[in-house]
């Protein structure tokens, strides 16, 4: 059904028909798979880079100006590449690792390469939220820098880290949709092939519902966990 020869209402009703969903369901699995894997890689890479940035920050535990500036530049360079260009740039890398430049796994590399620097910045700003007094206290007790980071800073800023991760996962979801254009499959692929190229707007609508549900679920879960933590700590 296309909006060109059906009314909006008819297309809307048509988007709930079982035949459409039969085609779409496998792609939902692809999207979830890409989102999950890319998010895990982003979480690990982003936390590691974010911790390094926080530690090297001029106000941080090991303030080193030159390494901080260099890693800052590196991250800014990666962040200035739009996702589409990153996918193209990562084609040779994907070919090297998976032997093919297209497909779900290959696009996960590009998505991670885009998201890690972004998430690293989010982690950095979360970690820097900690009050100087708590760091002073931890130092006075005789904590090593490692203990300060892992036993004080990360637990203390966990609610903020979770909120940041939620935002980042939602960005990953939007990137998976774009990656669909480059042979990654998933909802984005369906939306482009059916909704754009074949004017099957009922399928496009169905894709939108799925994306909305996924994004709302992610945001909802993130908010819930972060709020629970704050409540347990008696901070709200």
């Amino acid at each position: 059904m296309s909006l060109l020869n059906y009314s909006f209402w008819e297309v809307f009703l048509g988007s709930f028909s079982p035949e459409i969903w039969k085609d779409i369901f496998p792609s939902v699995a692809d999207t979830l798979y890409m989102t999950l894997l890319a998010s895990i890689i982003m979480l690990i890479g982003g936390i590691v880079l974010g911790i390094i940035l926080t530690a090297l920050n001029p106000d941080g535990l090991i303030p080193l100006k030159i390494p901080y500036t260099i890693s800052g530049w590196f991250i800014n360079v990666l962040r200035s590449l739009p996702e589409m260009i990153m996918i193209i740039l990562m084609i040779p890398v994907a070919r090297l690792i998976f032997g093919q430049s297209y497909g779900t796994n290959s696009c996960i590399i590009a998505i991670s390469a885009s998201c890690i620097p972004m998430y690293a910045r989010i982690v950095e700003s979360s970690l820097l939220e900690i009050s100087k007094g708590k760091i002073d206290a931890a130092k006075s007790i005789g904590s090593t820098n490692f203990q300060i980071i892992f036993r004080v800073i990360i637990p203390e800023t966990l609610p903020s880290l979770i909120r940041g991760f939620t935002t980042a996962v939602i960005t990953v979801i939007s990137m998976t949709a774009l990656a669909g254009n480059f042979g990654a499959g998933g909802i984005g692929d369906i939306a482009v092939r059916y909704g754009y190229q074949r004017f099957q707007h009922d399928k496009l609508f169905a894709c939108i519902y799925i994306l909305i549900v996924i994004v709302m679920t992610v945001q909802g879960v993130g908010n819930l966990i972060s709020k629970r933590l704050l409540k347990r700590r008696g901070l709200v």
């Binding site: 007094g133 002073d136 007790i141 005789g142 637990p155 203390e156 700590r233």
Partner: protein, 261 residues
């Protein structure tokens, strides 16, 4: 009694917007073992910087700090971590770990020292009893009152059995009644455990109530030091006089108000 903390010619300056601000201009202090020593000064006098230099949260530009037999400024990184475990610090803003329960806040210094679990448990409960927090162990600091938070802060500073406790404006954020309770607690700890306490404050009452000896810090220099009663009775310097006057008015309103009329 021998001197336990010895500070000689301590200088510290900070760079603020390119200009150099000299905060400590050659501070000398001798603190005896087992006493409660007060350091009083107006804000900006350098009190907190002095406190932070003692466990090297700030590195002084020059001078000498000895705590017990330890030369604080010549310690290696590792030695400094060990030395810090024997110097407890209590802060004005408590600086508790909000992600940890009261129990885990108090236990933290032992946990990072890899003490055995049942040993930790025993000592946390002992310390909690000493500061009167036995019923709050499972709460989070977020749900405690200011006085209770400071008790957690004191317990956390005490658990690793320090020989020296630095109280950096520990009662300045508390109401008068709670201040008294916390001061009583500090006195009790000093009496029971023989811990030397350096009480840094701008509150005259706190010093008068708890300290045997004191020093007056003004513009980065100790302008007067000695027995508390002597300084209040016989203030030599400008600040000493000023403090004594403020103190007199605070303590004896009936004299001030009733005298002339």
């Amino acid at each position: 009694m021998s001197n336990y903390v010895e500070i000689e010619g301590l200088h510290k300056s900070f760079k603020v917007h390119g200009a150099t601000l000299e905060v400590l201009k050659g501070v000398d202090l001798s603190i005896k073992k087992g006493e409660i020593f007060g350091v009083i000064g107006f804000s900006g006098a350098g009190k907190s910087t002095l406190a932070r230099c003692i466990n090297r949260l700030e590195t002084p530009d020059s001078g000498k700090i000895t705590v017990g037999d330890t030369d604080i400024l010549s310690l290696s990184k590792k030695g400094l971590l060990q030395a810090r475990k024997k110097i407890g610090v209590v802060f004005q803003t408590f600086n508790l770990f909000e992600a940890k329960t009261v129990y885990n806040n108090i236990a933290y210094p032992l946990k990072i020292s890899k003490v055995k679990k049942d040993e930790i448990d025993k000592r946390v409960r002992e310390t909690a009893e000493l500061v009167g927090l036995t019923d709050k162990l499972n709460s989070y600091p977020g749900g405690l009152s200011g006085g209770q938070k400071q008790r957690v802060g004191i317990a956390r500073a005490l658990i690793s059995d320090p020989d020296l406790l630095i109280s950096d404006e520990a009662t300045s954020a508390l109401d008068p009644q709670t201040t008294l309770q916390i001061l009583d607690l500090l006195k009790e700890i000093n009496r029971k455990k023989g811990i030397t306490i350096i009480m840094i404050t701008h509150e005259l009452d706190a010093i008068r109530y708890s300290c045997q000896r004191m020093a007056v810090l003004q513009d980065g220099l100790i302008i007067e030091s000695g027995e508390v009663s002597e300084i209040f009775k016989n203030p030599h310097s400008h600040t000493g006089k000023l403090f004594a006057k403020v103190f007199f008015e605070l303590q004896q309103p009936e004299l001030r108000d009733g005298g002339g009329i």
